[in-house]
């Protein structure tokens, strides 16, 4: 089982990340990926130009690794790949790539779901939406925590 967890300051190319995952998963039967994009609208309905992700110099990368490793240990997957942006992400651009490969599809679906539920609530980032209406810090919702808690 292999795990990759990366913090990217400049760019995140989902096609490249999928190609990397596909390359190592040639002995498997399934790949499931999720790509999260910077939303162009806030929960309050304001236009968002960019999402700014503040991060910690050591804890952020550690949190990505811990979540990816826990995923690999929990599900019957061969490869886990997590890539997360930090810094300024223009609306519509990718913020996160979460992917898993497995012999059969169910484990890969579950693994990608698990990765995102934990990343949303536990990855060490502080997220700020910036637009004409100003700047707003965003925290996980009750629904995000409920999603995370499904995994026990």
């Amino acid at each position: 089982m292999s795990v990759v967890a990366l913090l990217e300051a400049d760019t995140l190319d989902p096609q490249f990340e999928l190609a990397e995952l596909t390359e190592v998963a040639r002995g498997d039967g399934a790949i499931v990926t999720f790509v999260g994009l910077a939303r162009p609208e806030s929960r309050e309905g304001n236009a968002v130009d960019a999402v700014v992700l503040d991060h910690h110099p050591t804890l952020t990368r550690q949190s990505l690794e811990q979540i990816a490793v826990a995923c690999g240990e929990r599900f019957d997957v061969s490869h886990v790949r997590v890539v997360h942006r930090c810094g300024t992400v223009p609306a519509g651009e990718p913020i996160v790539f979460a992917g898993a490969a497995s012999i059969h599809r169910r484990a890969a679906f579950d693994a990608a779901d698990y990765l995102m539920d934990r990343l949303k609530t536990e990855a060490v980032f502080w997220k700020r939406e910036v637009g004409d209406a100003g700047s707003e810090w965003v925290e996980p919702t009750e629904a995000d925590f409920a999603d995370r808690d499904r995994w026990g």
């Binding site: 060490v124 502080w126 700020r128 810090w137």
Partner: protein, 77 residues
């Protein structure tokens, strides 16, 4: 003691600040000093975890480090 702040706390107070914490101060003592000097972030500070030397520390602990960090609730994805 040097204090490092992230997210909304860094936005409101600045990335780094200092508090004049007496020897033997616990995290709770330092949190209280910071709250007293920046009452506008009382609620955000109360919901923040403290971290010293890349380790989360409880409020009844002494930081054991020259720098204490406060981490507001996190959100990735």
């Amino acid at each position: 003691m040097r204090i490092r702040l992230y997210g909304r706390l860094g936005d409101a107070i600045g990335r780094e600040t200092e508090v004049d914490a007496p020897d033997g101060s616990t995290v709770a003592d330092i949190r209280q000093l910071l709250t007293a000097s920046h009452p506008a972030v009382t609620e955000a500070l109360a919901r923040s975890r403290a971290c010293a030397g890349d380790r989360l520390v409880r409020d009844d602990e002494r930081p054991g480090s020259d720098v204490l960090e406060f981490l507001p609730p996190v959100s990735g994805g």
